[in-house]
Symmetry: D2
Subunit: 340 residues, 4 copies
C-alpha cells in the first residue's frame, strides 16, 4: 500500500507511520517529493484494514496497491475454476442455463415450468421457496413445502435445483434440498450467512448486491473461499443507477472484468436486472457474447398469473425461441450450450 | 393505481385487466384517450405487488398512486412517534446523541470511551460486538464478550446501549444486552431478521441501506411495524453515488422527506456516511439544522489505535467541542440537546 | 397526465386544478378514491412542462403517462429510421464500425490509423480535432488543422469522417469538413448547440450524457428532430454509477430499450465507456448481440504514444482480430458487418 | 503518481516506463515487491494526463497521488478567496442569499419578485433570461429582452444580478448585463465556454454538474482560474443518484470538502437540487450550518403561475420566514447574514 502524507506532516508524523507499519510486519520504502512524503509498504494485504493509518496525524490518504481479495484472485489461481453440479460443469466450455419461475407456487406450476424449461434446453431448475419481498404484504414463498416440491420435480425431470437460502436458521433445511445454494443480492454482504454457507460445502451461487462494486463482490466470495468452499459461482444481476426505465442497470462489463480479476465462473441474470421480459432475450444474447458461463432466466407457464415478478418472466414459447438463438451465439464465441 | 395500456391494446386486453382488478377487489375507472386507454384502480394498496398486471398483454406500465407503506406513513398516523429508551425520548423535543467506538475492543477502551462521550454530553452509548466487515481477514468483533462489556459499562455509566444484531441466530443473545437493537445498513432488507426483531419488542434502530430509496427504507420499517413493534428509529447513513471522495453521499434531504412521509423519528450517522472524521462536525451541525432527532457518532479514545474505522472516529476532545456547537444549533431550530 | 391530490385537498383546490388544465386545452377526468382524488388529463403532452401544477395547493404529485418526446418515438413513426452517409446506411441491415484515434495528432498518425482501420473493416473514420479535456493542461486538439487532415485522409482512403463539434462558434467550420457531426456526451444537453446543429442538416451522432436517462437522451434528440433534421444516430457510451473499476458503466440494455421506444438507430462506444482496451472486444461483441446498429471504437497505431486516451485504444492488430469475431456475431443475429 | 506493474511485467517493460517518465521530466523511484514492481514518479502533475502509461505493456494501473487541480487547491493558496460583487463579499464573514424567479417572465413578475426578495433579505437577484430546458417545446426564456428587464430592475432595486450564460455566442451580450455570470450545471464541462468566460473577468458562478465528482468540478474551476479569472464561486445543486423522490441528491458534504480542498467560496442551490419547495427551508438551514457561503433560492410571486419550475419556488412569505430562521443559524455558526 502507499501512504500519502499531507503537506504539513512533520518528521515525527512520518516516523510514527513507519513504526506502525513495521510493527505490523510491512517492509517500508520512503519517497520524499517536493511537496509531500510518500511511504510505500509491502506485506500481507489482508492486514491492511486493521491498521487505522488514516487516523494518524499527517496522513492524507492510504492507497491500496493490490486488490483486497486473495483466494478469489486470478493471480492466486491462474486456471479457471469449474464448479461441478452432478454431471454438469459451470465455468467450462459449455454454457448452462438455469431457468424456472421466480417463486414455487404449486406442484402443478412448478412441474409444468420445469418440463417446459427442460424442453427448451435449460439444464438446471431455478425456483424460490423463500422469497425476499420488499413488501411484508406480498407472497413470501411456500417455504419448506416449496423445497419439497423442488425435490419432487427434480426427481421427475432430472434437473438439479438452485434455490435461495435467506438466513442461517433455515440453512440446514435448504441445504438438504438444494443442489446449488443461492445467496440473494440483498444477502451478498450477510457475512454470518456467508461463513455458514461455506461450511455446507455445496456449490454456492453468489448474486452481486445492486450496490456492490466488483471488488466488494469478490470480497464476499472471499468469505466463502476462506471458509473452505471453492465452489462459488458469481451472478451479475444489475446494479443501481439513476436510470429508472429498467429496474436496475445490467453491468455486463462485469463479466469480462471478473474473468480478468478472478478464476471464478460468472453467470448473468437478465430477468431481475431489467425487470421486463421484453428485453431479456437481447440481453441474454449479449451476456453470452460477453463471455458469461451461464444464464439465470425466469420462465413462468403463465406470467400474468405469477405470484411474483410476472412482468419479467418469459413464456415457455419465448424461452424456447431464445435458446435456439443462444446456441448460435454460443457457437459464434467458440462455446456450446449444454445439451442434456 | 393507474394501468396504462399500450397503443396496440385491444378491447379484449382491456377487459382482461379490468376483470383481474375486480377479482382482486379493486374498483375500476376507465379513461380512453386518443392514443391510449388508462385504467384507474382504487383498493387495498398492499395487494398491488401480488397482481402481475405488467405481464398481461397490452399493458404498457403500472403507476402506483399511493406509497406502498401504510403503517409507517404520516397519513396513517399523523402525530410524531416518540420512542422511549429508559427515561430518554427519541423523536421528541430533545435531540439525543449516541456516541462511542465503532467496535468494542476491550474493557479499558470501552469504559474510557463511554466516560468520555458521557462527559461530552452523549446520552446513549454505541459500540459493536458483532462487526460486519468487508474482509474476512478483518477483526470481526468480540461477540458475546463484547456484549457483556457493554452491559458492564452501562452499569457503571448509566448510559443505555445501542448495538448491532447481525443475524437471527444471535438475536436472542443480543436482545438480552441491548437497549436498542441496531439493524445495520447491509441488513436493511434482511426480511427474516426484520420479522424476528419485531417480535422482541425492544426499540429498533433501522439503518438505511446505501442503495435503498426512501420508499424501500420505509417498507423495511413497515416489516417491523407490521410485526407489532412500533418503536422504530430510522437512521440515515449515506447512500452510494459516483462521488468517491467521501465513502458515501450523506442524503440529508432524507431527514425532512421522512418527516413529511412518515411519523417515525429519524437520526443521522455522519461518521459512516463520510468515512472521514474531518467532516463529521460540519455534517452533524447540518443534520440538526435539517431537523434530525438525533445523531450517531463514532468516538474513540485513540483513533489511530482503533481496530475498526479509526479514520472516521472523533477524538473525545473534538466530540466535546462539537457537542457545544450542537447545543447552539439545536437552540437555533427551537430544540434542545438532551442533558443527563 | 395524472394529477394526484393530497389527502387534505379541498373541493376548491381540486376545482382550481381542473380550471387550469382546461384552460391549457386538456380534457379532464375526475376519480375520487377513499383517501384521495385523482385527476386524469388528456391533451398535448408537449405542454405539460409549462403548467406548474405541482406548485398548486393540494397537489401531491403529477405523474406523466406518455413519454415527453414525440417525433423521436416509435409510436409517432413505426418504421426504423435509416441514416445515410454517402453510400452507407446506419440503422439498416448492415452494421457500421466507426474507428480511428481519439484525437488527430499528426498527418502520419491519422493516415496510418485510417489505413489500418480500413484494412480491418471499418467503414467510417473517427478522430477528434477539438477535444473536450477534463484538464486545461491537457492536449486540446489540433482544431482547424485537424479538420483539414481529416479531409485529406478521407480523400486518400475514401472513408467518411465523424468528428466532434463542441460549440456553436466552430460549428460552421466543423460542418464544412465532417460527414457526421458528433455531439459529445458533455454537450448532450447543450440546447443552443442542438438547435444550431439541427439547421446544418448533416447526420448527427448524439452521444448519451453519462448522467442522462434514456428519456432525457431522447428529449435531446427531439431538439434536433424538432429543428427539422431527422438524421440522428444515438450513441451509448457509458453512464455514471458507483462502480469505479471501469470508467463508466456501459448500459447495453439501452440498445433494445431505444429500439423499443424510438425509431432512431443506436450505436455503442465501448472504448470511452470502459476506458480500458482489455474489455473493448468482449463488449463490442455483446453490443452487436444486443442489437446495436454500429460501433465507435478507438484504434491507435501506437497506443502508448497517444496524446489522448491511449489506455482505451486498440492496436490495429487487435482491431482486425475483433472485426473477424464481429462478423460471426453479426451473422448469428441475422445481420452483416458492412464491407467496402 | 504511482505506476503499478502487473505480475507478468518483465524488466524490459519496467525500463520502458522509466524511460518514458524520465523523458517527460519526472523523477523516478523503483520499489520491487514480492509480486509486483511499483514505480513512483515525482514531477509536474499537470502533465500526467498526457502520458498514456496505462497503454504500455506490463502496466496494471496508474494511481495519481496529487489532485489534478493546482490553482484551485488550498495547498496552492491557503487563505480563502473572497469574490467581490459591488459592495458585497462572497466567501467572507457574511452569507449572501441570491433569490428570485427561475425565469424572467415579464417586467411585472420580475420587479415584484425582486422587491419581495429584497424585503425578505436577499442581496442578489437571480433570474434566467436564457433557460436550458429538457423539452424543446418548453418556454426557453425571454433572451435579450429578459436581460434588459434584469438591468432595469437592478436599477430600481439596487440588487446586483446573477444570470446564466449558455453559449459563447451570447456571452458578449450576457456579459453586458450580468454582475455574476452563471455557468449552468449542464455546461460545467463546456470547456469552450469556460475558457471564454474566463476572459470576461466578471465573477463566475460555477454550478456543479449533476454527474460531476468534486474533483471534476474543481477541474472546471481550474479552466477559469488558468484563464486568468480568479473570481469563481462554486455552487452545489444536487447530484444524480438512484433516489428518485427528490429530483437530485443534495450533496451537502461537498461544502466542507470544497473548503478543505480549495480556497474558493461555495454556495448551495437547494431549489434545483430537491425540486420541491417543501424541503427547501430545511436544507437551506442545513447548508448554512454546514458552512456554505451563500444560497441560491428560487422565489416566485405566484408559483402556480410560473412558466418554469414553479414546484420548487418559495412564495415571498415563505422566503421571508426562512430568512429569519437563517439569521439565527448563521449566528449559531459564527457568521452573519448580509444585510443591505
Amino acid at each position: 500500500m502507499i501512504v500519502i502524507m499531507n503537506h504539513c506532516a512533520g518528521q515525527e508524523d512520518i516516523q510514527l507511520v513507519i513504526d506502525k507499519l513495521e510493527q505490523a510486519g510491512f517492509r517500508v520504502h520512503l519517497s520524499k517529493g517536493v511537496e509531500r512524503t510518500i511511504i510505500g509498504a509491502v506485506g500481507d494485504r489482508t492486514q491492511i484494514n486493521d491498521i487505522a493509518l488514516e487516523a494518524m496525524p499527517g496522513v492524507e490518504k492510504v492507497v491500496p496497491i493490490m486488490h483486497p481479495f486473495k483466494l478469489a484472485s486470478r493471480v492466486f489461481k491462474e486456471e479457471d475454476t469449474v464448479v461441478r453440479v452432478g454431471n454438469l460443469e459451470i465455468g467450462g466450455d459449455h454454457i448452462q442455463v438455469m431457468a424456472g419461475p421466480c417463486a414455487v407456487e404449486s406442484r402443478e406450476q412448478l412441474l409444468e415450468a420445469a418440463e417446459q424449461v427442460k424442453a427448451g434446453g435449460a439444464t438446471i431448475l431455478r425456483g424460490g421457496a423463500y422469497k425476499p419481498r420488499t413488501s411484508p404484504y406480498s407472497f413470501q414463498g411456500l417455504e419448506e413445502k416449496g423445497l419439497k416440491l423442488l425435490a419432487e420435480v427434480r426427481e421427475i425431470t432430472g434437473l438439479p435445483v438452485v434455490t435461495e437460502v435467506m438466513d442461517t436458521s433455515t440453512l440446514p433445511l435448504v441445504s438438504e434440498y438444494a443442489d446449488i445454494l443461492q445467496i440473494g443480492a440483498r444477502n451478498m454482504q450477510n457475512f454470518f450467512l456467508l461463513r455458514q454457507v461455506a461450511k455446507v460445502g455445496k456449490p454456492v451461487l453468489l448474486k452481486r448486491a445492486p450496490s456492490a462494486t466488483v471488488e466488494e463482490w469478490l470480497m464476499a466470495a472471499e468469505y466463502i473461499l476462506a471458509g473452505g468452499n471453492s465452489n462459488v459461482i458469481l451472478c451479475e444481476r444489475g446494479i443501481k443507477s439513476f436510470e429508472s426505465y429498467t429496474r436496475n442497470t445490467l453491468d455486463l462489463t462485469a463479466v469480462p472484468v471478473i474473468k480478468y480479476l478472478s478464476h471464478l465462473p460468472v453467470i448473468v441474470d437478465p430477468s431481475h436486472a431489467i425487470g421486463n421480459w421484453r428485453f431479456v432475450g437481447d440481453m441474454s444474447r449479449a451476456a453470452v457474447a460477453a463471455g458469461a458461463d451461464g444464464l439465470l432466466i425466469e420462465v413462468h407457464p403463465n406470467p400474468p398469473e405469477a405470484l411474483c415478478d410476472g412482468k419479467q418472466s418469459l413464456t415457455p414459447q419465448n424461452f424456447k425461441a431464445l435458446m435456439a438463438e443462444l446456441r448460435v451465439i454460443a457457437w459464434a464465441v467458440g462455446r456450446e450450450m449444454e445439451e442434456i
